[in-house]
């Protein structure tokens, strides 16, 4: 596999992971976490673990993002700290 693609995805994984922790807007954090899950799914499929990538895409990037958005909608959108 091209190491450049690997490196770019790994960098984006770190950026989205830190970003989802630092962002004050919780809806933005939920979306960034979904992006993080999707990038992890790409990494799994690069490594050849297709079953894990499938699970990560459906659970991590799909349903858990919906759960986070629903929880933000029912609580508050901004963090206190």
């Amino acid at each position: 596999m091209f190491w450049q693609i690997d490196l770019a995805i790994l960098t984006l994984v770190v950026v989205t992971a830190v970003g989802s922790l630092m962002v004050k807007d919780l809806l933005g954090a939920a979306i960034l976490f979904g992006a993080y899950s999707f990038l992890m799914c790409l990494l799994w499929s690069i490594m050849g673990a297709v079953d894990v990538a499938f699970t990560e895409a459906s659970v991590g990037a799909g349903v858990s993002s919906v759960f986070f958005v629903a929880a933000v909608f029912r609580t508050s959108r901004r963090t206190k700290d």
Partner: protein, 275 residues
């Protein structure tokens, strides 16, 4: 407090990095897992279970006991959401909003009064907006294909990536899509609260029941070759069929748990209005 948390996180991260150095390198052919464990499953999965995708045979057969308790964990997550949100806080609000379908007039009723179910009035949410025809029709067109794909993922998990867990999540996501594109009430009409609450333990029971059936037929718990006498096939195909039975149980449990969690979170346990 923030500084203490940061220090703890950094120390834990440093330990994790320190421990990760001891791991064998990625795809190292001389690592313990690659020398005797993985080759056994890669070489014998087809001979033992007649399942081409050895990830599926590994998950549902060789370590079926683990997967059974993973399903139980999923079921417990749904149950906890139900207990925390629905039982402690789930009361219908006193104020209801109705909309006259023909004229579009909105009626608000207080102190728990209701309009009996009729064709003329439909109940609407507090934050009701006119339905978008494109979104509604688009999702209505997509949902059957999503469900068909989910069934394919469950049924075809033997020879391609996928299985009960992924297929169940996609099936649940199709109902969640209905709840998002229409409203929670429409989705609840299709998949009632009681149906969800009954199907969720039934899925886990199918898994455990398959194991118990093997036990009753005289072999170990979850040793599917015992099913050969019931299904009238040879023991190797019986293991393949046993995996399918178990995957169906996992699919039902995961699908209903996803719907259950979504219903409870999006309506804060009140089931009156979703997102």
């Amino acid at each position: 407090m923030k500084i203490i948390g940061l220090i703890i996180t950094i120390i834990t991260g440093a330990f994790l990095v320190y421990a990760a150095v001891d791991f064998p390198a990625w795809a190292d052919p001389n690592s313990p897992a690659s020398t005797y464990l993985s080759p056994y499953f890669i070489e014998n999965s087809m001979k033992d279970t007649s399942v081409p995708n050895f990830v599926t045979s590994l998950l549902a057969d060789y370590r079926g006991f683990d997967t059974m308790f993973e399903t139980t964990v999923i079921f417990t997550a749904g149950l906890v959401c139900f207990i925390l949100l629905r039982i402690s806080g789930g009361k219908e609000p006193e104020t209801r909003h109705y909309r006259h379908v023909l004229t579009g007039v909105t009626v608000t009723l207080k102190e728990g009064r209701k309009i009996p179910a009729s064709e003329d009035f439909e109940r609407i949410d507090d934050l009701w907006t006119p339905p978008d025809l494109i979104i509604k029709t688009g999702c209505r067109l997509m949902i059957p294909f999503i469900q068909l794909f989910a069934l394919y993922v469950i049924a075809h998990g033997h020879s391609s990536p996928g299985g009960g867990f992924q297929g169940g999540v996609i099936l649940g996501a199709s109902i969640i899509l209905l709840a998002i594109s229409h409203d929670l009430r429409t989705a609840l009409e299709r998949m009632r609260e009681k149906v969800v609450a009954i199907l969720c333990p039934v899925g886990v029971a199918i898994y455990a029941g398959t194991g118990t059936l093997c036990l009753l037929l005289g072999l170990n718990f979850l040793d599917y070759s015992a099913l050969a006498s019931v299904l009238h096939v040879d023991p190797i195909s019986a293991r393949s069929h046993g995996i399918l039975m178990v995957e169906i149980g996992v699919g039902i449990a995961v699908m209903t748990t996803m719907i259950w969690i979504y219903n409870n979170i999006s309506s804060a346990g009140k089931y009156n209005q979703g997102l």
